[in-house]
């Protein structure tokens, strides 16, 4: 019977010799991400900057962006960005935060909707006031930090401290490079992006834990073998699963990219990147970090109070 197998039944890839190369590559990626982030910054959406967003659709054929720019530019609302969104009838209007209080923002929305007239159908308006904007930024940063911390503590409880540190380095790597991607591409960074980053963190840690689980098991099983060899065996044994899960998740995300509509596209693209970087980092960064520690010693010490796996008991 036919079986689709992206990974052969038994692989003997030597991952460990590539750890050094991966470490160099990832260091460059992380440094570049930080550089771009500090030098160029993120294209912050209205969630964090405060401001107004209006999505509109022209009911009589393609929208005339130049005409809109002229007409809305005259309203004297400061920085206005007008771009087409998804289909050519659809337009996204972004307006900077207005001077004054919340009433000024609402007045601006009304001015724009009045200027657009009846041939433009208002599909969505979002307005984030200055107070909320600052608060969302704070909460967003807090959410990412707390999620990382919570995950780290969980791994520490379930594994040894070395695993916890390795997982944390891998996760930070994923988060930093994802933020770097947003800085480079100038994709809008909004609340949904924070959700994407945290989901990437969740996905990546999921992957990492599966590999760690196997490493822990094999440390107990192959007592006579060297640590690098054990890491290699563990990675090869889980390789088929790693690829399977990455592909299924990627398939679901590709469906969103192509069919999910414009609002979800950026989110799904960020997640796709996350699946790629998360899979890479669990193999090369998380396990790569593990290779720096002497795990066998801790595993031996632990042996007295952990029951042996059943196949060793006979």
């Amino acid at each position: 019977m036919f079986r689709l197998k992206l990974v052969p039944a038994e692989t003997k890839v030597n991952f460990v010799v590539r750890f050094r190369l991966a470490a160099i590559l990832s260091s460059v990626l992380v440094l570049a991400s930080l550089l771009v982030f500090f030098w160029q910054g993120l294209n912050l959406g209205i969630d964090f900057r405060g401001g107004i967003l209006i999505e509109t659709r022209h009911s009589e054929g393609p929208a005339d962006l130049a005409d809109l720019r002229g007409r809305l530019g005259q309203l004297d609302l400061g920085d206005i960005s007008i771009q087409s969104f998804g289909a050519e009838t659809d337009v996204l209007v972004r307006i900077q935060r207005q001077e004054g209080d919340e009433k000024a923002q609402i007045a601006a929305i009304q001015a724009v909707t009045a200027e657009l007239g009846s041939s433009y159908d208002i599909r969505r308006t979002e307005f984030v006031g200055p107070t909320i904007g600052a608060e969302l930024t704070e909460k967003g940063i807090l959410a990412v930090l707390c999620a990382l911390g919570g995950i780290m503590i969980y791994i520490w409880f379930r594994f040894e401290w070395q695993f916890s540190i390795a997982a944390m380095v891998a996760l930070t790597h994923d988060v930093v490079t994802t933020i770097g991607l947003f800085a480079v591409t100038a994709f809008e960074f909004n609340l949904a992006t924070i959700a994407a980053i945290l989901t990437i963190a969740g996905y990546s840690i999921n992957d990492t834990v599966v590999v760690f689980d196997r490493v822990r098991e094999n440390l107990r099983r192959y007592k006579s073998r060297q640590q690098p060899e054990i890491l290699n065996i563990s990675l090869n044994e889980t390789l088929s699963r790693t690829v399977m899960t990455s592909v299924t998740t990627a398939l679901a995300l590709l469906a969103i990219v192509f069919f999910g509509g414009a609002v979800l596209r950026d989110f799904a693209l960020a997640m796709l990147w996350g699946v790629a970087i998360g899979t890479y980092s669990s193999v090369f960064i998380a396990v790569g970090m593990l290779s720096w520690f002497d795990l066998k010693k801790t595993a031996d010490e632990d042996d007295n109070d952990t029951p042996k796996p059943e196949y060793e008991r006979g």
Partner: protein, 458 residues
């Protein structure tokens, strides 16, 4: 909140003045200013009496002493209690304004210390919602002062003692000089309904309760021929002349449209908000986009589901089919759980479902890979299946719990759409653990017992 505190301080000053007089305490300069009430004692002899009086206020207020002068302001606890009370009152009134019949199922929740989150599905006109929420709807009837005129007061720069200058509500800039004393206020209303005046223009008819009617009859009876102002949120709606004594029933006229008279009647019935509301954040989705994006999201979910199922069957054959059956159960459970908790299905929520579809099969992948491995190591089929499930479970729990940790933080720190996403993600993790572990296992065992396979087609 400041306005509420200032108002409470005026009330506090009044009640202190009463208690002081009752106990014959000699005081001076008792006044409410901003967020505190200040007063002084004339004689130190009165200190024990004062202490006795103030004991009742100790819980909600902080006392500052300076010689014989005292000032009271809200303590942290008092302020927190006031905030809670104010927000809860506001929520009740918002509900009555937005959903007078109790059929629209709006979500109105307190968020943080002094915020309210309102979600209204299926609203055609978001501007109207804002105008309903935008007015405090504090209604008062005050006599127009005739001893002096609005123009004189404006020229003098201030209104004479006991009066105040108010603008007209229609934006004409016309000014009225009215007495500060309130004849009747909105909390004495029993009912309000849209109606028409004698010229057939939209108006609002009202009925006062017993207390209000008595007071109103008394004042109107004594002031026939004088105009009185109908004041809404500090602005004069109209100032009709009292033609005859008015009892419980009256009418508010002004330059209303039908919609405006309907809305005014509605907000008057619902009662005044304890404090003005400020819109901090607003997101609205038009019906067109809502339908489009739900359709797109559903299409994406179905395509994703088919792709993942096809890939699973291509990779694991019969076992892949088992996994897709479990996946179908998973989706049904997830949707059931979402509707059980009345979650609003948002776009990020759909993304969460699609992502769950991708990740849900992970548990099955772990189990199947493990079974394959055990089988290759030379175990019999049944033993391999047994071992595959039992060994994979700890891995599955570890990896899913960590993702659940991330979802938890998304929920705690996220707001709006991000929360919706975290809820679907978390529910998806829980249902997928259940279906991938228990449902597939049941199917696999049934299959094994029925067909007794000799070799493992995995």
């Amino acid at each position: 909140m400041q306005a509420v505190v200032a108002e409470k301080m005026v009330g506090l000053a009044d009640s202190l003045r009463l208690s002081f007089r009752e106990k014959r305490l000699r005081f001076r300069a008792l006044e409410a200013g901003g967020e505190q009430v200040r007063f002084g004692l004339r004689d130190a002899e009165d200190l024990p009496v004062l202490e006795e009086i103030l004991a009742a206020y100790a819980q909600d207020y902080d006392l500052t002493e300076d010689g014989l002068n005292r000032s009271l302001r809200f303590s942290e606890a008092g302020l927190a209690a006031l905030r809670t009370q104010t927000v809860e009152q506001a929520i009740e009134i918002i509900r009555r304004r937005l959903d007078p019949d109790g059929t629209k199922e709006p979500v109105i929740q307190r968020q943080g210390a002094d915020r309210v989150l309102i979600q209204l599905p299926g609203v055609d006109d978001p501007e109207r919602v804002k105008s309903l929420l935008g007015q405090t709807a504090r209604l008062t009837f005050q006599l127009v002062d005739l001893r002096s005129s609005a123009a004189e007061a404006k020229a003098a720069g201030r209104a004479p003692q006991g009066t105040q200058l108010l603008e007209a509500a229609d934006g004409s800039g016309e000014l009225y000089l009215v007495e500060r004393r309130v004849m009747v206020s909105g909390d004495m209303l029993e009912n309000a309904a849209p109606s028409f005046d004698q010229n057939n223009r939209p108006a609002v008819a009202f009925t006062l309760n017993a207390v209000g009617a008595k007071k109103f009859a008394q004042v109107t009876g004594a002031n026939i021929g004088r105009p009185f102002a109908i004041v809404l949120d500090g602005k004069v709606v109209s100032a009709p002349v009292i033609q005859s004594q008015i009892f419980a029933n009256g009418q508010i006229t002004g330059n209303f449209t039908i919609q405006e008279s309907n809305d005014l009647a509605l907000v008057l019935r619902a009662g005044a908000l304890p404090a003005p509301l400020i819109v901090l954040e607003e997101r609205s989705v038009g019906p067109g986009l809502g339908a489009d994006s739900i359709a797109a999201g559903t299409l994406a979910a179905i395509v994703g589901l088919i792709l993942v199922m096809a890939y699973m069957i291509a990779s694991y054959g019969l076992f892949g089919l088992f996994a897709t059956a479990a996946l179908a159960v998973n989706i049904i459970l997830l949707l059931a759980a979402l509707s059980a908790i009345q979650a609003t299905l948002t776009l990020p929520g759909i993304a969460g479902i699609v992502l769950t579809v991708g990740m849900a099969v992970d548990a099955n992948v772990l189990i199947f890979e493990r079974i394959r491995e055990e089988f290759r190591r030379g175990r019999r089929i049944q033993a391999a299946i047994e071992a595959g499930y039992s060994r994979a479970i700890s891995t599955i729990i570890d990896s899913n719990l960590t993702t659940l940790v991330a979802a938890l933080f998304l929920y705690v720190f996220g707001s709006g759409p991000v929360r919706g996403f975290s809820v679907t993600l978390a529910l998806g993790i829980i249902t997928s653990m259940f279906t991938a572990i228990l449902v597939t296992r049941m199917i696999v065992v049934l299959w094994h017992n029925a067909s007794r396979p000799k070799s493992l087609e995995l």
